[in-house]
């Protein structure tokens, strides 16, 4: 079921199995039938660990969402609260328990804290007089959740804000704990590199925790060669830019949550002649996106401009495969054809889905990415497979669609100008127009922040102008949001009149003019020209080493460092010639799909020398990032 987790260089299914085991053990501790009361935020991440069937096997009969007042009636022996350790949730739990007590025959209550037990919360439960009601109070250290064969996330939404704005390092502590769990399963990581204040702290905590566990010598042969810790605020630029990979665009436009995306259903309706589209489904189409799907694994990390040609090629292959049945003459041949049918049908379904998604994206980006090849409508395929790949010529774009795509193009142009260092020091017309037309505030903020970052801060006059325009247009309450962005360094006045960005851009080769989107030779393809700074740092660390970029490292915020964790001689690795290193790269404060794509690109380079496993506090994009930093006082 989670086989795709084991296809990578590091078998992450081991981690998934370990956390599943821990869950089962806890459930079995609470003997008898049970109901789980969920902290709603946890259900998504838990879905990646255990389906309902696992819970059911362990006598979970009911599931509720944590809400105030009484619990819904349930004839079960145990009621288990699955919650994050937050005070406000404790208040709700206490309310539940107290009203349940009044109801009569008592049940057993338990709490499972995710990912950590909290004395603070238990004290609150004690103050509310319900602590004694719980038989089991335990923690479930679900720090890093495997999302894919090379991807782990803590899905901690507030991590960036807490770390960089509020000075709350809770998520860093969890990150360090998560890394300890990984080391327990995959061996001690001999070398730790890092850049940034938070990275430094996580490394310190890890070293400290290692000392605490001196008793249990880890005797596992190390799977990871290096750990690279990166602060998000070392690279504030990348997430602000619009991602141009397939997966990145899906996320930018529709938002991917816990590996699922919800899409407008129209394009997924089964096409029937003369139906006139009467019974269009109204419920959003929900799809899971991960490497378990062969086609998706192939196209997710491509620049969107290179997706169309792959899809048409696949369509031809599939249609040819279906044609094969005419050639199948002998019983043996027919048998063989039939045995391949399920796989072919799955491939066809997958192709249909991604064609629809590509069309949806094209409606937004169309005419922008002029290179996007038309999806050819192949008569043979639609006849045989009921699969339709309509070219844009069949569906005249509506006026709003044209406007959307025009706008996407204009936005992209501005972004690319900023990133290549053009006109970053004055008020930008496009941004002005966006404000005047009251485009989404998040979009405006992303652009203004991008300009600020690409100019090492804005001139005071420019900054004040933008801020004033935003407050007048969107409301004065947003002054709090602006303050937050300033605190995070996303928006700031230029100090000392010095713009460091050009130095950084040139040294790290962040802007590449000759980008090949179809057959990329450099990571800059993920943003059609801009090479993500974070990934460049990783690339340069692997070869030739950070010593070559000392000057830039000093400009970027926070310390850079290296630590060694000594291994017993028996566990030291002798690399085979040609064998790649495995680097675990941990983004503290979030990572985007485009950055992940760039790292996968590096992993696949034949002479790359390094393969990456990616971990983060949160999978995010510019929009969800800015949104988390916004403050709405009413």
């Amino acid at each position: 079921m989670a086989a795709h987790l084991s296809y990578g260089r590091v078998n992450l299914n081991v981690l998934r199995e370990a956390v599943r085991r821990e869950l089962r053990e806890f459930l079995d501790k609470c003997a008898g039938s049970k109901a789980i009361v969920w902290d709603e935020y946890l259900t998504g991440p838990f879905g990646l660990i255990a389906q309902y069937s696992l819970l059911k096997e362990h006598e979970v009969e009911k599931m509720f969402t944590l809400k105030g007042n009484r619990l819904p009636a349930a004839d079960v022996k145990n009621i288990i609260f699955f919650v994050r350790p937050r005070l406000e949730l404790m208040d709700i739990i206490a309310e539940n328990v107290l009203s349940e007590d009044r109801r009569g025959p008592t049940r057993d209550f338990h709490i499972l804290f995710v990912p950590r037990r909290s004395l603070l919360c238990e004290q609150r439960l004690k103050d509310l007089g319900v602590l004694g009601s719980f038989i089991h109070r335990e923690e479930y250290s679900l720090d890093l959740i495997p999302f894919d064969g090379d991807l782990l996330s803590m899905e901690s939404e507030g991590a960036f804000k807490e770390c960089y704005l509020e000075g709350d390092q809770t998520s860093l502590y969890h990150a360090a704990k998560g890394l300890m769990t990984l080391q327990a399963l995959y061996g001690t990581i001999p070398q730790i590199f890092g850049k940034g204040e938070c990275s430094r702290q996580v490394a310190n905590m890890m070293i400290r925790m290692k000392r605490e566990f001196t008793g249990s010598q880890n005797s596992i042969f190390p799977v990871f060669d290096n750990l690279l810790l990166l602060d998000r605020n070392v690279d504030l630029l990348t997430p602000l830019a619009t991602q141009l990979t397939y997966e990145g665009l899906i996320d930018e436009i529709y938002g991917i949550q816990n590996s699922y995306v919800k899409l407008p259903p129209e394009k997924f309706a089964p096409k029937k002649q003369g139906d006139g589209g009467k019974d269009l489904p109204t419920e959003a189409k929900k799809l899971q996106l991960n490497s378990a799907e062969e086609l998706y694994a192939e196209i997710r990390d491509k620049n969107f401009n290179a997706v169309g040609s792959v899809l048409s090629k696949k369509a031809k292959i599939i249609s040819a495969a279906f044609e094969e049945r005419h050639n199948a003459k002998t019983v043996g041949e027919i048998k063989q054809f039939v045995s391949q049918l399920p796989h072919m049908q799955a491939a066809r379904g997958s192709l249909a889905n991604h064609t629809s998604i590509a069309e949806l994206i094209k409606d937004v980006t169309n005419r922008v990415l002029l290179l996007l090849p038309r999806l050819e409508c192949n008569g043979t395929i639609s006849a045989h497979c009921n699969l339709c790949l309509p070219g844009s010529s069949d569906s005249p774009a509506s006026a709003s669609c044209v406007a959307a795509s025009e706008d996407f193009f204009d936005k992209l142009t501005v972004e690319q100008e900023f990133m290549s260092g053009i006109d970053t020091d004055k008020v930008n017309n496009y941004i002005e127009d966006c404000i005047a037309q009251k485009h989404s505030l998040i979009k405006v903020l992303r652009l203004v922040c991008l300009q600020s970052v690409c100019n090492s801060g804005l001139k005071q006059k420019v900054l004040d102008y933008y801020k004033r325009e935003i407050l007048q247009t969107y409301g004065y309450e947003h002054i709090l949001t602006l303050h937050n962005l300033e605190k995070a360094g996303l928006l700031k006045p230029q100090t000392g009149g010095r713009n460091n960005y050009p130095t950084i851009r040139k040294t790290l080769r962040l802007w590449m003019d000759d980008v090949n989107e179809q057959n990329p030779t450099d990571i800059s393809y993920v943003y059609s020209g801009y090479a993500p700074l974070s990934v460049r740092l990783a690339q340069l660390l692997s070869r030739p080493g950070w010593r070559s970029i000392e000057e830039v490292l000093r400009i970027l915020p926070g310390p850079h460092f290296e630590e060694r964790q000594p291994l017993p001689t028996g566990l030291q690795k002798k690399r085979q010639p040609g064998e790649n290193r495995v680097t675990l790269i941990f983004f503290l404060g979030g990572v985007t799909f485009a950055e992940i794509a760039a790292l996968r690109f590096l992993s696949q380079l034949e002479d790359g020398g390094t393969e990456y496993v990616i971990a983060t506090t949160k999978l995010m994009n510019g929009t969800s990032w800015i949104e988390a930093l916004m403050e709405k006082p009413f």
């Binding site: 003997a31 350790p85 509020e166 360090a176 008793g215 006026a399 325009e469 969107y474």
Partner: protein, 695 residues
């Protein structure tokens, strides 16, 4: 040589028994055992005797005496009982003596008579007193079951992790049950009790009547019951002199026996030897002992593991022997030597004649960084013996902050605890210490402490943001953090205040704070906001409708939509809305109104600062191609192609693009050429392109 069978006596038809003395007791007992409360620990553990357990005559001089002996009767401890009346004694699995008092308090002693701790079995027990109590063993540890004067049961299945359970009422129970016992099934503790001819099984949820299978008729009362050590078997003795033996689940009968003795036995216990196939019940009366047994299946128990053996040695302070055993068995350090050294250290800290320095050094020398040694456990023991300074010294050797901090707090070394917690990075630990400090120190000192610990301060601010807003303000004030104070009052203006005057006042405070923070921009913006709020209130009064909390932009739009153009103009001027945005705003509002006439007038009022493409776009958005075309002609050359394409004039767009000789424009037009209608245009473009290439 003696005949092997010489001292064997027949028992029934097919079994024989013999009696021989294993060893004689060393003790010198003066009292009759019957006058004492007696408890013997399992596995040949110690025996406790409480002499004169609080006789009715209340003679203060005859205080009870608690004696503890080894299994062979060697005296281990003797102490005067100074607490309340004891109802029951029992040994826990860890060889701790549990003394259940009449008031529900349970006092815990070590096997050397050292007082460990006490706990209460709850208020209900305190009020109704303890009628009877049992100590029982479960896989979790040792439990206590209490029968109160109100004939209710309360139990805790594990005294090490005390959770009290009050069992449900037994319907119609007016007097104490004739006999009862605690038993443990499916990891849950139950009570089995007999009331007249009925048996009831109590779990924490329900009371259910149960019947043993194959029970002989005519029983009007159960006089005794006994469960085996493993809770698998149960024996019942009835008033008819009948003994029923079966499984404790009451699903199966093993055997029955009628002894024809109707007097209630003094004691009845299960008895089985290791490796023996025989299970038997021994019933004792005043002057008679009876063994009832069956021999059917084999059950083998090997309860006393090596770990338990080591524990026993340690408890008897035979450390070197224990270490030798560990080394001989090559036990891993964590399970073996480390543990014993830790126990030794715990004993060492109790040696009051040695200085703190010396004890700490001695312990560290012997233990070093031995894996698995918990310095905090040792420190806790030192603190328990009143040696706080020693405890602090020992804690310095503890690498785990999670272990250091709670003990430091208990010892009231909160500030030290705070710095240890911060060092660990565990924010929950920091919070815990902070809340302690907050209760312990006065506000000024507390704030001062925070000031020196930035990480703790940020965390506490977070806490206050959600829990104590007023304190948050005080914190900012103390730090002269005017910027944050300003934001604080901005929030307050939304959260607390309903009335406009209140809101404006809060905003004024915010603006003042921003000035102090030298954030002129924020101060001015906040003053603008105040001005806008007052104005919106006036607009609502004068014009009706909703204005409050609209943005400035939306306020102007609303005015235009309502036809109040003059006021809109005035507002735009007062707040210095830039010309470009004002044009966009008016354009959008007029198009929304579909007031095309006014829009055209507006477009001609002066040269548009935003060009005329937006006019085309907005008309098309409202699906008014006719109006759109009017403006398309006024669009400047740079955007002409776009404008023509928007209004659908592909042919003219092509002409302009060809005239411009602009490749990007040509492609754009080409991409708009659809189907047959634009075929000619497409050809024209292709020709132009070809020509351009020739040149």
């Amino acid at each position: 040589m003696d005949c092997y069978t010489a001292n064997w006596n027949p028992l029934g038809d097919s079994a024989f028994y013999r009696k021989y003395e294993l060893y004689s007791m060393d003790w010198d007992l003066k009292e009759e055992l019957r006058d004492c409360l007696v408890a013997a620990a399992p596995y040949g553990g110690p025996i406790a005797l409480l002499r004169n357990p609080w006789r009715k005559e209340k003679a203060a001089s005859v205080r009870p005496v608690l004696d503890i002996y080894s299994a062979s009767g060697m005296p281990l401890a003797s102490l005067l009982w100074k607490s309340g009346p004891v109802v029951s004694l029992g040994w826990s699995a860890e060889e701790e003596l549990l003394c259940v008092q009449e008031d529900g308090a349970v006092l815990v002693y070590g096997l050397h008579g050292d007082f460990r701790r006490h706990f209460s079995m709850g208020n209900e027990v305190l009020q109704n007193r303890v009628l009877d109590a049992r100590i029982f063993h479960t896989e979790f540890g040792s439990g206590v079951a209490i029968l109160t004067g109100a004939h209710r049961f309360t139990l805790s299945a594990n005294v090490g992790d005390l959770k009290l359970r009050r069992m449900p009422e037994v319907p119609g129970l007016q007097s104490a049950p004739s006999c009862w016992t605690a038993l443990c099934q499916d990891r849950v503790a139950h009570i089995l009790l007999a009331v007249g001819p009925d048996l009831y099984l109590l779990d924490h949820a329900a009371c259910s009547a149960v019947t043993p299978p194959g029970l002989a008729p005519g029983v009007s009362s159960f006089l005794q019951m006994a469960v085996s050590f493993t809770y698998r078997h149960l024996a019942l003795f009835t008033d008819t002199g009948y003994i029923w033996m079966g499984t404790a689940s009451l699903k199966e009968k093993l055997c029955e026996f009628n002894c024809n003795i109707r007097a209630p036995p003094k004691q009845m216990v299960w008895c089985s030897r290791p490796r023996s196939k025989e299970r038997a019940v021994v019933v004792a009366w005043e002057r008679r002992l009876m063994v009832v047994g069956d021999a059917s299946e084999s059950i083998q128990y090997k309860q006393l593991t090596i770990q338990v053996l080591l524990d026993r040695l340690v408890l008897r302070r035979l450390y070197p022997l224990a270490i030798q055993i560990c080394e001989y068995l090559r036990l891993p350090e964590v399970q073996g030597v480390s543990r014993i050294l830790a126990h030794w250290a715990c004993y060492k800290v109790q040696q009051k004649d040695v200085s703190d320095e010396d004890v700490a050094r001695a312990i560290n020398q012997k233990l070093g960084d031995t894996p698995g040694v918990s310095y905090s456990d040792i420190a806790a023991r030192a603190y328990g013996c009143g040696r706080t300074e020693l405890a602090i010294k020992l804690l310095e050797y503890e690498p785990r902050s999670g272990e250091q901090v709670p003990l430091l707090l208990k010892m009231k070394r909160s500030k030290l605890a705070l710095s240890k917690a911060i060092e660990s990075g565990d924010t929950d630990l920091v919070f815990t210490v902070l809340l302690h400090l907050k209760n312990e120190l006065n506000r000024g000192d507390f704030f001062m402490t925070l000031r020196n610990q930035p990480m703790a301060l940020s965390l506490y601010r977070q806490f206050c943001k959600h829990q104590e807003l007023e304190t948050l303000k005080d914190l900012y004030n103390q730090d002269d953090n005017h910027q944050e104070l300003g934001s604080f009052h901005i929030r307050a203006s939304y959260a607390a205040e309903e009335r406009i005057e209140g809101r404006v006042a809060a905003l004024q405070t915010a603006a003042d704070a921003f000035y102090k923070a030298k954030n002129e921009f924020a101060a001015k913006a906040t003053e603008d906001q105040m001005r806008l709020l007052r104005l919106q209130r006036r607009l609502e009064d004068e014009l009706g409708g909703q204005f409050l909390d609209l943005s400035l932009h939306d306020t102007v739009t609303t005015l235009i939509l309502g036809g109040h153009n003059k006021r809109a103009e005035q507002l735009a001027r007062d707040f210095r809305i830039p010309d470009k945005r004002l044009w966009w705003l008016k354009l959008t509002a007029l198009a929304d109104l579909e007031d095309w006439e006014e829009l055209e007038k507006f477009s001609k009022s002066k040269k548009s600062p935003i060009g005329y493409l937006p006019f085309v776009e907005i008309c098309m958005k409202q699906h008014n191609k006719y109006e759109a075309k009017k403006y398309a002609s006024r669009v400047g050359p740079e955007q002409k192609v776009k404008a023509l394409l928007l209004v659908g004039d592909v042919a003219q767009a092509a002409d302009v693009a060809i005239e411009h000789r602009n490749e990007a424009e040509l492609s754009l037009v080409l991409s708009h050429c659809t189907g047959a209608t634009d075929g000619a245009t497409a050809d024209k473009i292709q020709r132009a392109r070809a020509q351009a290439q020739k040149k």
